[in-house]
Symmetry: C2
Subunit: 251 residues, 2 copies
Amino acid sequence: MSANGRHSIFTSALKIQMNCHDCTLNRLCLPSCLAHSEVELLESIVKRNRPLHKAEHLFRAGDAMQQVYALRSGALKTYLLDQDGSEQITGFILPGELVGLDAFGNHCFPSYAVALETSLVCTIPLTDLEELAGSIPSLRKQLLKTLSRELHEEQQHYSHSRESAEQRLAIFLLNLSQRYSRRNLSATSFILSMSRGEIGNYLGLTTETISRLFSRFRQLGLLQIKGRELHLMQPTALNRLGKIEVQQQTM
Amino acid sequence: MSANGRHSIFTSALKIQMNCHDCTLNRLCLPSCLAHSEVELLESIVKRNRPLHKAEHLFRAGDAMQQVYALRSGALKTYLLDQDGSEQITGFILPGELVGLDAFGNHCFPSYAVALETSLVCTIPLTDLEELAGSIPSLRKQLLKTLSRELHEEQQHYSHSRESAEQRLAIFLLNLSQRYSRRNLSATSFILSMSRGEIGNYLGLTTETISRLFSRFRQLGLLQIKGRELHLMQPTALNRLGKIEVQQQTM
DNA sequence: CGAGCGATTGATTTCTTTCAATATCGGTGG
DNA sequence: CCACCGATATTGAAAGAAATCAATCGCTCG
């Protein structure tokens, strides 16, 4: 607070957020593996937008794809609308993650992205990015890497849909935990940015099932949850649970 | 048959299969959208292997990723092994489709690819491809497009896992139908290259459920199936089924 | 303070799995 | 050429997991 009045400090504090080079998320984001000079080139094409408020859309299916996005702060969800108009959540985006990569195949976004809380995004114009990818081999590699990883993660996500509700929620929570941890946030205590219904939708389960599972996990002493505030008490046990079905009564 | 004895014809017939430019699948494959000269550059780095026999692996999880593959003929399945060693089929590959794109994120393949029938593949060395992608913008674009589309397809596949067994099988059959059709093969009559168990595994259902569904679809007059020989009698009705649950008894 | 959405919890239903018993097909060897 | 074998497929009956239906609670925001 004492420094707030000083313009120079205030400005520099803003700058730290305002360029890729100093961004604390750069190792998770597109600049990962790029040389200093290359980050500067990337930096020169990246734009920052006004903040996105909760429930505001970053893009909608059908929008022309003229840029990809990287999330700087906050949280987003991406979803598809199926033919009967129901929302199918395809992912939750945390800071440092790219959004909109599923749109390269078309000229339009196939999915929707909406803010779950107030969020800041970086905008990367497509034509500039494609051009830059021609001249920077490691950027090219990084783009392919990111897409490829997302593909693999999606495959894994699908393969988890064959497991029990219990296992799916355990895996989901551990995945969130790991992602927060990589961002130097607590792996065991965090606020869920999505509702029970959204978790259920994402996992192919109902709100009621998620609610019951949270209650069961709480009873087992695996976690504490109050509203959206979550504390993982026994991540190891939760991890076991994600692999092997818990024995309910006997033993 | 009359021309078989003539070496020149025989050789040229082989050549038709042996280069990208004349390959009937090129519009579905990596050369799509490339100029003639660019296809020739691509052609120069592509290698053709000996045929892969049924049950032979193209690659295994953990193998060093030194190339990507394009299927020329036959059929493959890709799968993951989860922690308890069970196979989770992630996709069926038809001619003209690329395989192994989920490995860019790593230096190793995360998944397995195995032939469902005798198959021919084209091998594209990674270093050459990455280099070429630097100098050919449309190749770069095509690679991103393909990955992006696969990502989107995977998302759709996941979103279908929330639907009923009936709908999932209907969607699966129509998807196969569409893919065969794009290859100038019959959209209504084709041989399934995978077992009931493999279909079930892919869709997150059991062999028994698939078998029962085929019987039900047959009773409804939607299709004829004998072994792996399938005829879609009412693709339109099947399509409706993929969208709206069939009314079982009443109406 | 009331309205309304989100969450919790219970009772019941439904769909798919699991278990089990045949049946059929393709390939092999006598 | 045919009989037999294992693998794959079909079909039935029972069990189980999650959905659905329903009621209540609690928090947040006008």
